[in-house]
Amino acid sequence: MIMNSGIPLEFYLVLATVMFFTGIYGFLTRRNLITMLMSVELILNSVNINFMAFNRFLFPGKLEGHFFSLFVIAVAAAEAAVAIAIIINIYRRFTTINVEDVNQMKY
């Protein structure tokens, strides 16, 4: 049952894809660890949009996509918690969170 279907599915998918690749681009170009983490969150949110859009438009009788995105949100929070804990440790060790300076190991 789709109410108010003014916005077609394609728009959601395009939005999600743009978000996904923005996330990838940000992850590869940004040099601040927190910003890199934010880029990853962008990727995970694009996945959520994808799941929910597919679920609502194509399989409105089921809830699998919605459930999946709920779990993704929860797990992303856990990931962010661990990542930020390690980033704080990095800041204590290196007094910076710029990835260019966190480079003790190369080749």
Binding site: A16, F20, G23, F27, L33, M36, L37, V40, I43, L44, S46, V47, N50, F51, F54, N55, L58, F59, K62, E64, G65, F67, F68, F71, V72, V75, A76, A78, E79, V82, A83, A85, I86, I87, N89, I90, R93, F94, V102, N103, Q104, M105, K106
Partner: protein, 473 residues
């Protein structure tokens, strides 16, 4: 829940019980007795490993989200054995003064990753798979950053967590496309509704890239060496053996169960990735001086050999992947065991430091030599049989070019594995590592590995048993 369902997921339940027990034990031990936790934990884990061998109960739970079969039980038992060896090897390291007040953290994090891997292996639904994979990787990042006062350890931790979140994001993006086509996330339903439309292929490529990060296949391998070098040695051995083995297991299960319809596509992908992984892993291993980095690149190359078992989609392929994983666990843990013993006693990790090791520490040298022979695949030891069967599995389906490239690569691999042996036995050194005695737990860990290397090579019944539990497309 009735008693049978407890039996079906006994691996996870027993591990959870062990987790809670260690947590409680930590609360109730006084400041001075923290050392005892590690003995309790290792003993407990030995019981967990033994409990895994109880007669297998099979079936599915939670409406098909969780499935246990003979195959998954076997895989979990292999992972349990490997983890037990890792715990025994890390026993001495945990006794260091700086680790004393957080011994329990090591065990808790390690056990929770193992629970995640077990859930991942017996998942029948992509949600369970995703939760398992995250439970297996998030605590691992914390483990990699375990040496709180080492810059390298923190660096390894952040590299691991960022890469693993990125890779799960990519993997999920692929899954969402597959969901869009099939409308389900249960493995059997996805397999039934899957067709070879472009969106599915696209989704599969994203999925493959995500799994490639987890298994450190070649275009996605760059994190491996840094994380392996920076993390504490025992965590590195866990990462390179158990974590990678679990990823290989679930990857082959998903390929065989969910994606058989597009097997023509993934055969080509795996062909290219396997060649790249083996070749580049080997070429980079040639120039490494640090033993941990060296073993990291060797483990990348070994992951490429796993792919030879995937490619045919045949029953022999799955058998050899499981068999090779078992051998790989013993050989790689023997190598890491020696490296960790030496790093523990002397703090030396470079290959030059190993010059003349045979004169001062013959036992360790012979262990490391056996491990290197097994990794390289020299006949009397187990690694040879593993590699041989992998080649047979790929050749059975007619991938002769791939097998030829792989065989040529084993020659390169043989060269750099023998470099280590040469350093120990032939090279002269002004100041070799002084002779020392390893303690009981270190000896025990290495003895189990050597026994494993020798026995798995000769016990043909083992191969037959694994074969009976495997399946093809």
């Amino acid at each position: 829940m009735n008693p049978e369902s407890f039996m079906i997921m006994r691996h996870e339940l027993v591990l959870t019980l062990a987790f809670v027990f260690i947590l409680v034990a930590e609360v109730f031990t006084g400041e001075r007795n923290k050392e005892k936790i590690k003995s309790i934990a290792v003993a407990l884990f030995a019981i967990v490993t033994a409990a895994g061998f109880l007669p297998a109960a099979t079936g599915s739970l939670f409406g098909g989200m969780y499935e246990a079969s003979g195959t998954t039980t076997l895989m979990k038992n292999i992972l349990n054995i490997g983890t037990l060896i890792v715990l025994i090897q890390s026993y001495t390291w945990l006794g260091r003064p700086e680790n004393r007040d957080r011994i329990h953290e090591y065990f808790l994090l390690l056990i929770s990753t193992l629970i995640g891997m077990n859930f991942m292996i017996s998942s029948g639904h992509f949600l369970m798979f995703y939760l398992g994979i995250e439970l297996a990787t998030i605590p691992l990042a914390a483990l990699a950053a375990y040496d709180r006062y080492q810059n390298r350890s923190a660096e390894a931790g952040i590299k691991l967590i960022l890469i693993s979140t990125l890779s799960s994001g990519i993997l999920l993006f692929g899954l969402s496309m597959i969901y869009g086509v099939t409308g389900s996330l249960y493995f059997p339903e996805v397999a039934a509704k899957l067709t070879s439309v472009p969106l599915v292929i696209m989704g599969f490529i994203f999925f493959f890239a995500g799994m490639g990060f987890k298994m450190s296949l070649v275009p996605f391998h760059l994190w491996t060496a840094d994380v392996y070098e920076g993390a504490p040695v025992n965590v590195t051995s866990y990462l390179s053996v158990i974590s990678k083995g679990a990823a290989a297991f679930i990857f082959i299960i998903i390929l065989f169960r969910v994606f058989p319809v597009i097997s023509m596509t993934w055969e080509k992908v795996i062909w290219v990735i396997a060649v790249m992984t083996i070749t580049i892993g080997n070429l980079f291993a040639l120039r490494q001086k640090n033993m941990k980095r060296f073993l990291a690149f060797s483990s990348i190359a070994q992951a490429g050999f796993f792919l030879l078992g995937f490619i045919g989609g045949n029953r022999l392929g799955m058998t050899t992947v499981i068999y090779y994983a078992l051998i790989y666990i013993f050989s790689n843990l023997a190598a890491f065991g020696v490296v960790s013993v030496i790093a523990e006693k002397t703090g030396k990790e470079n290959m030059d430091d190993y010059d003349g090791l045979y004169r001062t520490n013959p036992g360790l040298s012979i262990t490391l030599m056996l491990a290197m022979f097994s990794l390289a695949g020299i006949p009397p030891v187990a690694g040879f049989f593993g590699k041989f069967f992998l080649f047979v599995a790929a050749a059975e389906k007619g991938f002769y070019v791939l097998v030829t490239i792989a065989v040529l690569n084993t020659i390169i691999a043989l060269y750099y594995y023998l470099l280590v042996v040469k350093a120990m036995f032939i090279n002269k050194s002004e100041a070799p590592i002084a002779s020392f005695r390893s303690d009981f737990m270190q000896k025990l860990g290495l003895a189990i590995c050597i026994a494993g290397i020798v026995v798995t090579g000769f016990a043909s019944g083992l191969f037959e048993m694994i074969r009976n539990l495997s399946y093809g497309i």
